[in-house]
Amino acid sequence: MRQSIAIVGALAIVIGSLCGQAAAKDAATAEFDKFREVMEDSNPAELFEAKGEDLWQAKRGPKQVALAESCDLGLGIGVVKGAYVQMPRYFADAGKVMDAERRIVWCMVEKQGFSAEELFRTPFANENFTPEPTSLVTYVAGASRNMKIAVPISEPHVQDTYQLGREVFSFRAGPYDFACATCHGEDGKRIRMQQLPNLAKKDEAIRAYQGWPGYRMTGGFMLTQQWRMNDCFRQQRFPEPRYLSDTVTSLLTYLTANANGNVYKGPGIKR
């Protein structure tokens, strides 16, 4: 009995991948791809880049200091161009490996004197509200457009964080037994109509990486990589990862370093 089921099962998989799927999938996917370029050509994310640039330049916070004159994103104080594609990286002043959003918030708290508690309370955008770090990340990301991703993976702290990220990626738990890898560990899969890049592979990880920060068509607001990780864990039926936590940074280190060598084309526009 068991054996015959297995044989029939295998047969069904073969039949499925030969006919049913192929036709329907490809028509829809091809249609999406055709309009992707149109969407990317005029991406409302640019509106948030402009907002972020203003925030970066302005003297703000209790200390009335501009990030442009105080924040080091890894390439020297105030240097924005090219910084995004070289993060996450290790920051000796914080003693941590940090992704872009984590670093920006660190600068806002340490250099400008903003309240961490406040920034952590509403970290993600909604229809009525865009957090300042979101606009700042979008600006910083946009300043690395068309540059090669180069996470300094041979740096020991970054390497260590990468290895931890790989473990987080494949950790199965929760009521549905899901890991990140359950949906993002194979090539060419979809959930409903959404492509699921295989985050372990260079050419697929880049697709996930440059999607975020991204302008989300649903709702029409800007969301960051930190949000993407948070919402993946929600759909994974996990409890909530803390904003800017080591776990999220490790995952971002894993998937970004996996995309090393590709040219960054974001910020993105997403369904």
Partner: protein, 157 residues
């Protein structure tokens, strides 16, 4: 002169004076914009009503009026639509979403220099016909339409 503006002048009942004010820059452009919105057409609840309010009685299909629209939209909240009119003397292009609560989505008027080719992004509440209506200088109307399917998204369903 721009047709919408001409209507405005007529309805204002003092065309000459208003035109003079406009020319003198006394009325800011946004004040003119405010007077232009065609409430009847935009608040019509069906396509037929909206088209009528635009002044179009019958509209013929013509190969010189074309529309680019996705057959299946990735997201109904943002559907890219492009309408191109090669009809000589095109003065306006209107775009309607048949199944939306208020079908009329946008209406553009072209003055000298404006090419009748527009790209917009629309919300579609469900799978629907998207329709464009173009008007030419001789008062004739033309139309083109395409169906856009709206799909369910991933995960949450």
């Amino acid at each position: 002169m721009n047709i919408v503006r001409r209507n405005l002048l007529r309805s204002a009942g003092a065309g000459g004076a208003l035109a003079a004010m406009l020319a003198a820059g006394i009325l800011k452009p946004t004040a003119v914009l405010a007077a232009e919105w065609n409430k009847n057409a935009f608040e019509a609840k069906d396509t037929a009503g909206a088209v009528k309010a635009l002044g179009a009685s019958s509209a013929a299909e013509n190969k010189d009026l074309s529309m680019t629209a996705p057959e299946i939209a990735e997201n109904g909240a943002v559907v890219p639509i492009e309408v191109i009119s090669k009809l000589p003397g095109t003065t306006s292009i209107s775009i309607l979403v048949d199944k939306n609560p208020f079908p009329l989505s946008a209406s553009f008027d072209f003055a000298e220099g404006g090419i009748p080719e527009v790209a917009v992004r629309l919300k579609l509440s469900q799978t629907s016909l998207v329709k464009a209506v173009a008007k030419t200088a001789d008062g004739k109307f033309y139309t083109v339409q395409k169906e856009v399917k709206v799909t369910v998204g991933g995960c949450g369903g």
